[in-house]
Structures are given as C-alpha cells and as structure tokens.
C-alpha cells in the first residue's frame, strides 16, 4: 500500500513533468505555470540552502556566541543591497571588491596549478616513462603532445598564420573538432539519461498504486489541446467572417 503523501507526490510530479513536456507540442499556459514554479522552487531551494549552511551556522551562531568578527563580511554583504537605492549604490562596491579581490587572488594559484601546470605536466610525463611504454602508448603520447601544441598554436596570434604555420594551425582545428564532437556526444547522452529518468518516473506513476496519474494527466492535456484548437479555430473563423 502506497502512502497518501507519496500518491499525492506522484500526481504532482507526473503533472509537472507532463506540463513541461507539453512545450514540445506548443507553448501553453500549463508549461508557463510549470516554468514559473520551477523558477520559484529553485530560488526557494537555494534560499533554504543559504539559510541552513551560511546564515545560521556562519552568521547567527557565531554572533550569538559573541564572535563579532563575522559582522565585517555581513556589513560588506549588506552593502550589496544598496544596489536598490541609486544614491547609495556606490556602497555596494565594498562587497563586490571583496569578492573580486578574493576570487582573483584564489584564481591565480588555482589556474596555475590545476589548469596550466598540471596540463603541461600531463602532456610531458609520459615521455619520462618511455622505456616502460608500449608502442601504442608512445604513439598516443606523441599524438597528445603534438595535438596540444597544434591547438595552442591555433590560438597564438602573435605570428601570422601562413605557409607551414597555417598547416600546423589547421591540424589544431582537427583536434579541437574531435574534442567538441566528444563534448557534444557526452552532453547529448547526459540529456538523454535525464530523459530516461523522467520517462521511468512517468512509468512508475502510471501504475494502479498511483491511480494512473500519468494517464489521467496526459488525457487531460490532450483534451485541453483538442478543445483549445477547436475553440481557437472557431474564433478565427468568426474573426475572418467579421473582416469579410
């Protein structure tokens, strides 16, 4: 026996899922309702995360214990809200400059170690193990190194790309295309796995233990589109006759 709250949840989830899928047919009020609900629910979720992970443990609790140092970032944060008062909006710079300064200071070592140095190290490292590599591994290492150099050259604009240099740059484009193709393929598969998940949920909610939520909501949507099409067609005919 399925709990009442779970049945209600099933109906709600099936309804919202079908409302959003209905956009594939055409824009309609049900999709717009679901779209606006998503916006509100998303903000609500983030707000409760913010309250429970920052406001309470990092501001309220320390201040209650007499740790007043957190008042400094809180005041800097409050200055951001002066954006709503044009005459005082300059004060928001205090909050923004803190975020920019800290973010920039952190981005330099992070960018250097994780993106710049580790990418170069990953390209060079296989060549230090040549003796223990198979012929295929050596070929792969050469391909990665050569490809990375060609791609970098494609983005290097200090020298005009012509003659042999243009050929190197063109080879870089092919490696970029392989990467873009692979990234595109991965994105497609990720989206489809989400789609399977939603279909799986709709299938679950179509069971008798959920009182056929999916079928009922789907039938209601089809009925809406039929009636809407019928009445809007009639209206158009009437308008056409009036114009004539």
């Amino acid at each position: 026996m399925v709990d009442t709250s779970i049945i209600a949840g099933g109906w709600l989830a099936a309804g919202l899922t079908i409302f959003i899928f209905s956009f594939l047919y055409r824009d309609n009020p049900f999709f717009k309702i679901a779209e606006h609900l998503y916006l509100g629910a998303g903000m609500g979720w983030l707000f409760q995360v913010s309250v429970n992970s920052v406001w309470i443990p990092k501001i309220w609790e320390p201040v209650s214990k007499g740790e007043l140092l957190v008042i400094i970032p809180s005041v800097m944060g409050l200055t951001l809200l002066t954006q709503f008062i044009p005459k005082l909006s300059w004060m928001s710079r205090y909050g923004f400059t803190f975020m920019m300064g800290y973010g920039s200071g952190l981005a330099i070592p992070a960018g250097l170690s994780t993106d710049f140095m580790s990418q170069i190290a990953g390209t060079i490292k296989p060549f230090s193990l040549l003796a223990s590599l198979s012929a295929m591994d050596i070929f792969n290492a050469l391909l990665v190194a050569g490809g990375a150099i060609c791609v970098l050259f494609y983005f290097f604009f200090s020298v005009e790309h012509k003659g042999h240099l243009k050929k190197v740059s063109n080879v870089g484009i092919y490696f970029l295309m392989v990467y873009f193709g692979a990234a595109f393929g991965n994105t497609v598969m990720a989206r489809f796995s989400l789609l399977y998940g939603r279909f799986d949920d709709l299938f679950t909610f179509s069971g008798s233990n959920y009182f056929y939520a999916t079928q009922v909501v789907l039938a209601c949507m089809v009925l809406y589109f039929l009636l809407h099409g019928f009445f809007s067609g009639k209206k158009e005919d009437a308008a056409g006759e009036e114009a004539a």
């Binding site: 300064g101 710049f116 990418q119 792969n140 391909l143 193709g181 949920d201």
Partner: protein, 222 residues
C-alpha cells in the same frame, strides 16, 4: 568622497587579492587561518549577493502583478513555488530525511524540484537532436571529424550502437567502448589541453588586471 567611493574599494581588491595569492604559497599557520577566514567571509558575502538576486527577482514579479502586465498570473507561481520549498524547509529544519523517512522538505525536493529541474533539462534532449541535425551537415573536413567523434560517442554508448559496431567493425577486434575510451583519452585530451591552457592564461591575466586595478568595470559608473 573619491577616497571612499573609489580608492578604498580598489585598495580592498588589491590587499585581499595579494594576501590571498601570497597565503596560498606560504606554508604557515597564519596564512592557513587567513585563507579559512576569508573563505567563510566569502561565503557570507555571496549569501548576501544571492539575496540581492532574490529580492530583484521578487521585485520584478511583484511589479508585474501590481501593474497587471502580460502574463502577470504566471508570476504568482514564482511566489507559490518559492513558498512550496521554504515552508517545508522551515518545518523540517532543513533536513530532507529523518530516520529514513522523507521530511516535508524531502517530499517537496523529490516531487516538485527534482521533477521540474529533471524535466526542464530532459526537454533539451529534443532540441539538441534538432541542433545536431544542423551542426552535422558536413560541409568541410573539420565538420566531418566533429560528426565522426560525436557519432561514435553517442552510438557507442547505447546497446544498439554496440550491436551495429560489432556487426560492421567487429572484425577489427576493437569494441565500441575501447574506441570511445581512446577518443576521450587521446585526441580529445589534446584538444582539451590546448583550451585549458589558454583559459588558465586568460584567467591569470584577468585576475592580475583586477588585483592591480587595471580592470575595474565591475565597479560600475561613478
């Protein structure tokens, strides 16, 4: 006034940026504590920045309802959706599960937020297919390479694609999973590394420009 409006904010960027940068490379308790404190402060300021966005969104929809603008009725659902998450969050104390049972917040997250967000992104699958049709029209050798990489990756990850691969190219002794693995770890990595190195150089240069006050568009107009 210029000091308060311009020079002090720029000094905050410089001091915070330089101290954060230096602290990363100084293996001392003071620098570790500094980074930890700054991380907490950053979280607090970001929480207020989120509040700024939230209030701005609410103002926008409130005004739409107030002046009965086009589709004002839908704006009501923004507030309904917000309350549908906030009220359960308040009653559940921010917990989704208690002793293996869904709390009202867990219920709202599972049946409202997950259903909406999952479907919203799942719908993109259909649009991605139509985009694929446009982008895969092979007009050049580069476009052909893009197509082949994407095609192998997409087909190779579904059972039907593996069956097709085995029947057509099974004689090569390679399976689709092996080829995908090779594409992802060799030529795609070469392309990605070039981009990542470029991005990191760009990020470092931009960060330096911000710290030294050369780039200050984020400060807005005087």
């Amino acid at each position: 006034m210029k000091l308060i409006k311009k020079h002090i904010p720029l000094a905050i960027v410089f001091v915070t940026g330089v101290l954060t940068l230096v602290s990363y490379y100084v293996p001392h308790k003071v620098s570790v504590d500094y980074i930890e404190t700054m991380n907490k402060w950053e979280n607090i300021v970001v929480a207020f920045a989120f509040l700024l966005g939230l209030i701005s969104l609410f103002f926008s929809h409130y005004h739409k309802i107030k002046r009965k603008g086009d589709g004002w009725g839908y704006s009501l659902f923004v507030f309904i959706g917000f309350l549908a998450m906030i009220i359960p969050a308040y009653t559940s104390g921010g917990k989704q599960m208690v002793e293996g049972v869904l709390t009202p917040l867990g219920w709202a997250y599972k049946y409202i937020y997950t259903a909406l967000s999952g479907t919203m992104f799942a719908v993109l699958a259909f649009y991605i297919v139509s985009t694929a049709y446009r982008s895969f029209r092979i007009k050049s050798p580069q476009a052909f390479v893009l197509f082949v990489a994407a095609f192998i990756l997409i087909l190779g990850k579904v059972p039907l694609g593996q069956i097709i691969w085995d029947s057509a190219l099974g004689w090569t002794g390679q399976n689709a999973a092996g080829v995908i693995e090779w594409i992802m770890s060799v030529p795609a990595v070469a392309g990605k590394r070039g981009i990542m190195i470029g991005i990191s150089i760009g990020a470092i240069v931009t960060s330096l420009k911000i710290i030294f006050g050369i780039e200050k568009q984020y400060m807005g107009k005087d």
